[in-house]
Amino acid sequence: MNLSEYFHMGGYALYVWLSYGLTLAVIVVHLVHPIRRERRLLARIARRLKREAQ
């Protein structure tokens, strides 16, 4: 079986790859969001501490 035949998924390419793509999107979004949020929070608290120290 060649590659384009594989990606064709027996004619169900749209349904199969859209399902996997959406799943990946949900996973990435919910993984990146809390990591970025935590970094931002720590930076904000650090800035406030600096201000207070002055």
Binding site: G10, S19, T23, V29, P34, I35, L41, R48
Partner: protein
């Protein structure tokens, strides 16, 4: 019990959540890579559904996870209400958006599977409708939590909603047996032998456990954020933030 008390302190839980999240994350990745390989390459096409059966390996784990997260969320809410454990409330609150996302995913991938197999994107049958209600329960939980200013009141209201909503869980599970539906019956969670071949069961279970580990990893990350936000005046957060400069 001593270690439990220590763990329940925000500072210790913050550290514990970071370590546990990392381990669960790697576990999820390992299971996911193995599951994906089996799901997309090694497993056979279905004799009736052809290659479209591969949607099952994301649809079913997403649907299972949507139920699993709800049970975790409702149990945490109960613990928070009965034992006044603040951490449990944070776990419940952090679970809601993740649960909503996976319920949405289960519905959409189900739609994408239903169109080529059933000939329709959507049908108001028992399984699909009860899963849609689950989505509304999650969204209701989030909306209610953010609408009420007072934390104690918010906790009681959302906790009550989460607990009442638990009745929907067995309804979703048994919907395919209680009602005549287009959705197929259970093939894995039967008491006798599952009616699915090992070559399809393996990727399904690997993906399901990968999804569960993923939930554990990201919910702990969210709880860490909530802890930081609520404890920002305390000494340990100051040290943590100050040390990162």
């Amino acid at each position: 019990m001593q270690w439990l008390h220590r763990l329940a302190s925000p500072k210790h839980f913050y550290g514990f959540a970071g370590t546990a999240s990392l381990w669960l994350g790697w576990l999820s990745l390992g299971l996911g890579v193995a599951g994906l390989y089996l799901a997309l390459f090694a497993s056979p096409p279905d004799y009736q559904q052809g290659e479209s059966v591969r949607i099952m390996y994301v649809h079913v784990p997403a649907a299972w996870l949507s139920l699993f997260i709800y049970v975790c969320m409702a149990s945490s809410a109960l613990i928070a209400m009965v034992w006044r454990l603040k951490l449990a409330a944070l776990v419940a609150n952090a679970s809601a958006p993740i649960g909503a996302a996976f319920t949405f995913l289960a519905l959409v991938t189900g739609s994408l599977w239903g169109k080529p197999m059933w000939g329709t994107w959507w049908i108001w049958d028992a399984r699909l409708t009860s899963e849609l209600i689950l989505l509304f329960l999650y969204l209701g939980y989030i909306a209610l939590g953010s609408a009420i200013e007072n934390r104690e009141t918010a906790l009681r209201a959302t906790g009550l909603l989460a607990l009442v909503g638990v009745v929907n869980i067995p309804i979703i599970h048994y919907s395919v047996e209680w009602w005549n539906t287009l959705h197929q019956g259970p093939t894995v969670t039967k008491f006798d032998k599952p009616s699915i071949h090992l070559s399809m069961l393996m990727p399904l279970l690997l993906m399901a456990f990968s999804f569960m580990a993923y939930y554990g990893a990201v919910v702990l990350r969210s709880v860490r954020c909530e802890l930081l936000e609520r404890e920002q005046g305390s000494q340990w957060v100051r040290e943590l933030a100050g040390g990162k400069q």
